[in-house]
């Protein structure tokens, strides 16, 4: 009898611990960190392409759509200028903003310096399920020329940005899968 009770307690305790523990191993999380890095790089490539006015309208529309898919639906990107003014935009709006900004100049380029991605940390949802959050930082260097014949840049700034990454289970056609999504991007500072 005592053995049965002990076994029952052990079973209950172990099932509780299994339920409460994060579901992903360190190697899984490392792999998803790699996936997050790929997504960030893709997003940066789309931004570069928009700033450097690459592609025809159809191609740019595809890139815009693909960039939106990298993010959470409600994600917002903050933009700023050297005067310290900050404003938040949804992802579709953001791509419109950078198209407008680049159209003001004859030649614009964006370069991303030192993108650093943190490890994922587990968070408990209200329903007890676990998901993961991480973050990344990068410095965005924007330079523009009023005429592409000008030797020097007419305008340059650096913006340090910080972004959120989430790793959560999502219902896909192949069943429930862990999916990495980019979240809000905030501006820390803009300087020369």
């Amino acid at each position: 009898m005592r053995i049965k009770i002990s076994a029952a307690i052990f079973f209950l305790l172990s099932s509780f611990l299994l339920k409460a523990q994060p579901k992903l191993s360190a190697s899984d999380l490392a792999e998803f960190k790699g996936s997050a890095e790929e997504r960030i790089e893709l997003f940066q490539d789309y931004v570069k392409n928009f700033f450097s006015k690459k592609g025809d309208n159809q191609q740019r529309s595809i890139w815009r759509k693909q960039a939106i898919n990298l993010f959470d639906l409600d994600a917002k990107i903050e933009v700023s200028n050297k005067n310290g003014k900050k404003k938040k935009y949804t992802i579709p709006q953001y791509f419109d903003v950078i198209s407008t900004r680049s159209s003001r100049y004859d030649f614009t380029v964006v370069h991303f310096l030192s993108t650093k991605v943190s490890n994922f940390r587990p968070v408990k949802k209200g329903n007890g399920e676990i998901y993961y959050v991480g973050s990344y930082t990068f410095i965005q260097r924007f330079c523009a020329k009023k005429s592409s014949e000008n030797e020097k840049w007419d305008y340059c700034d650096h913006t340090e940005k910080k972004g959120e990454i989430t790793l959560d289970k999502e219902e896909l056609s192949t069943g429930k899968q862990w999916v990495v999504k980019l979240g809000d991007i905030v501006v820390t500072d803009t300087y020369d």
Binding site: A20, Q21, P22, D28, E31, F32, S35, E38, R39, L42, D45, Y46, K48, N49, S52, K54, I62, W63, Q66, A67, N69, L70, V109, H111, L113, S114, K116, S118, N119, R121, P122, V123, K124, I130, V133, G134, S135, Y136, T137, I139, R141, C143, W153, H158, E160, K162, G163, E164, E170, L172, T174, Q177, W178, V179, V180, D184, V186, T188, D189, Y191
Partner: protein
């Protein structure tokens, strides 16, 4: 017999190869459908003088994530060439504050950290985030410090929790555990959602002053609920560390892109246990 054995080994190795190629979870990169990855890569002809390698190097050395500060303190930062812990620790002191910290104190601190094999860990109890916020209290703009602590729960999930609010119009902070969930990555995002979520307390029926255990946070919550206190913006973020015996140091972000930038030590004090409790 030997041939069968070799065949089994080959089949086994082949299976291992296929398993290692197979990703455990599907990556949903529908985003690149129909687009050649090459077309996304910047044309090398775009490599104008925007590629300033000096800037690139400075950006790489910059301590952008708080985790990098921990790594460099612990001597495991891969972004710096020197593996010498002494020089890694010395590189954590912000030169802009050299007039505030005596060189002798820095030398003594580094010596003690190395001799005592002291390391920092996110799960340490004795470190806090201090967010200086601009607030509107009864129609007057003033400052208020929010004190947050990093917490790892028994189930290994993590979060930042609000442990106190410091201002002339609030009771003193008492060391009681309080619970108000702030995501565990908030430190790398300048705690940008904290102001919004605390102001939102007025609309949350579940969270009232009884939710908090300390008198300090009960009073803080009541003021927020009555809208007598509105948080406006975060003016400054500092992290205060008390893990190293007899020392207190504080870290904040230096944003200027130069040889040394990011999360750096700007304050170092020799302290006793009483000073530590006072904080």
């Amino acid at each position: 017999m030997k041939g069968i054995f070799i065949t089994i080994i080959h089949v086994f190795l082949l299976m291992l190869y296929f398993i290692s190629c197979d990703k455990p979870f599907a990556k949903t990169d529908k985003n690149t459908e129909g687009v050649s990855q090459d077309s996304l890569i910047e044309n090398p002809s775009d490599n104008t003088d925007i590629h300033n390698w000096n800037l690139q190097l400075m950006a790489q050395r910059r301590i952008s994530l708080l985790e990098e500060f921990f790594d460099r303190f612990n001597g495991v930062d891969t972004n710096i060439i020197s593996t010498n812990r002494q020089s890694a620790l010395a590189s954590l002191f912000d030169k802009d504050y050299k007039n505030n910290i005596q060189l002798d104190s820095i030398k003594k601190f580094i010596q003690e950290v190395i001799e005592n094999k002291s390391f920092l860990d996110f799960n340490d109890k004795d470190w806090f985030a201090v967010l200086t916020t601009k607030v509107n209290y009864r129609q007057m703009d003033t400052l208020l410090d929010l004190i947050l602590k990093f917490q790892t729960n028994q189930d290994s999930t993590q979060k930042w929790v609000l442990v106190g609010a410091k201002s002339s119009f609030l009771p003193a902070i008492t060391p009681k555990n309080n619970d108000f969930l702030i995501k565990p990555n908030a430190h790398n995002l300048d705690f940008y959602k904290v102001v919004e979520s605390l102001n939102e307390l007025k609309n949350q029926k579940k969270i009232n002053s009884n939710y908090f255990k300390s008198e300090n946070l009960k009073a803080f919550c009541q003021l927020l609920k009555k809208e007598e206190l509105i948080l406006l913006d975060i003016e400054n973020i500092e992290f205060h560390f008390f893990q190293i015996p007899h020392w207190h140091f504080a870290v904040k972000q230096n944003n200027n892109l130069k040889q040394q930038s990011g999360w750096l030590i700007f304050k170092l004090n020799a302290i006793n246990t009483a000073d530590k409790l006072h904080f």
